[in-house]
Subunit: 277 residues, 2 copies
């Protein structure tokens, strides 16, 4: 019956270890929103898009502008993302060894295969494209650097997912529903687990029109010195019209490139990866 003092000592339900700065959070929401917009936005529009008062938005925008994270167009008094945001964001590439190492191999893949190559990393149960080199086709794939994709429906995603710890795989699969994007998308968790097992055996992942109709894709993981899958590469080829590259040639090229990159990253080939051939 007696109320202990410990209960009283938390008047605002301090979530114990989750202190955050409100204004900073708001600023990040603004940055995030501006990152998704392709056009400049006004203060009012921005405010009601993210649920903040005009004045708050305005003051935060001034702060972002002073640091160059936001650009102000004096002609229409609208705001957009500033180059500083780009500059800072690209800074992550410098600390990512896989990016620099993989680049020449991606170029090599595009040169020999003529199809579009990607480099992606895992982030928060999703895949983020780090680099992309377009193939020699007239139609260009709609997948920008910096954009996100689910793990279960992409070649890079499945290649990354397959080589995580079991517990991580379970957590990620449980975290979000396996959304269907095409009729081929794997939506059953057990089927996905079986697919991942196959991917581990093969050493590469196939995306057979699972993310987008008419798009076939081969992905292979990159391991660093510690044996962790730090990134993955893929080559995508549209199925429309003639299919100039045979699957096995594609697979062989991607897997070999991935192995060579992994070697340069210090991967010594731990026993887990079965021989591929």
């Amino acid at each position: 019956m007696a109320i202990s003092s410990s209960e009283v000592s938390a008047p605002q339900s301090r979530p114990r270890g989750e202190s955050k700065v409100n204004s900073v959070d708001r600023a990040l929401v603004i940055l995030e929103y501006l990152g998704t917009q392709t056009k400049e936005v006004g203060v009012r529009e921005l405010g009601q898009a993210i649920g903040l008062s005009k004045s708050s938005v305005h003051r935060i925008l001034q702060t972002l502008r002073a640091r160059g994270f936001v650009k102000w167009n004096p002609d229409n008094a609208r705001y957009s993302l500033g180059m500083k945001a780009f500059e800072v964001g690209c800074g992550i590439l410098r600390s990512m060894e896989a990016h620099a190492v993989a680049k020449p191999y991606l170029e090599q893949l595009v040169a020999t295969l003529g199809e579009t190559a990607f480099l992606g990393v895992l982030d928060d149960a999703e895949l983020v494209f780090i680099d992309k080199i377009d193939g020699r086709r007239s139609v260009r794939l709609y997948a920008d650097i910096g954009s996100r994709r689910p793990l279960h429906s992409t070649g890079i995603g499945k290649a990354l997912l397959a080589h995580l710890d079991r517990s991580e795989i379970d957590r990620i699969i449980a975290a979000r529903p396996l959304t269907a994007y095409t009729k081929n998308t794997i939506t059953d968790p057990d089927a996905l687990r079986a697919e991942l097992e196959k991917i581990r055996r093969q050493g590469y992942a196939e995306d057979n029109e699972e993310m987008e109709d008419g798009l076939y894709c081969v992905g292979a993981p990159l391991f660093n010195y510690s044996g962790r899958p730090v990134a993955a590469i893929s080559v995508s080829v549209p199925k429309m019209g003639q299919q100039p590259v045979q699957k096995d040639r594609l697979i062989k090229a991607v897997v070999q490139a991935a192995q060579e990159i992994s070697a340069k990253l210090g991967y010594s080939g731990r026993p887990k990866a079965a021989s591929l051939g």
Copy 2:
């Protein structure tokens, strides 16, 4: 010594239209710092690098982490830039028409010339590299996407600077000293103005080892529908060893690519905006 309450009501002379949010500003400084670092940093190190107390830094880092702008390594409890920062920063490319339009032309330039091509835009009296496609040389240029360069010592920079309004040119030249990077760097404002006049006549800018010894570079501006120089492209070639590409062929290719890109951006080739200074 008694302080009346009326005096307290105006504690700081409000700088009239320059309101900013302190915590947001600090968060941006942290992001900026993390963007320059190639390794993970600790709270203390970060705090004394930017002059803040540990607890403030820690709280802001938690906020940044919750939004994915910062990544936390549980092994060493250190922080680094998160993929969200990359994602948001890349969002700027989507709203930049020049980027998408120029890409194929850059690839074409690299394919025919074999040298490294760049795309850059003006930002705050500096140049920021937006895109880069490496040439077929074994040595790769040290110039990352997202990095900054001065305007007066680079091909892209001079090409951009030359086509601004007179008043803008004067402002930018006056804004910062013309730092010398090599013995060829133009450090005299009047010499620079003459060089810019020459660039306007020619339609392209040359960087003859002005930023880096042994590096020759040709830049040409891209105009959009309104006739403003929204970006510029360049091709760099090292002078060491044999010089496989003749200058005039290089220049011709760059200029032609720039003109075609400008045309696609809606530039009608109007005689140039005179009379504004």
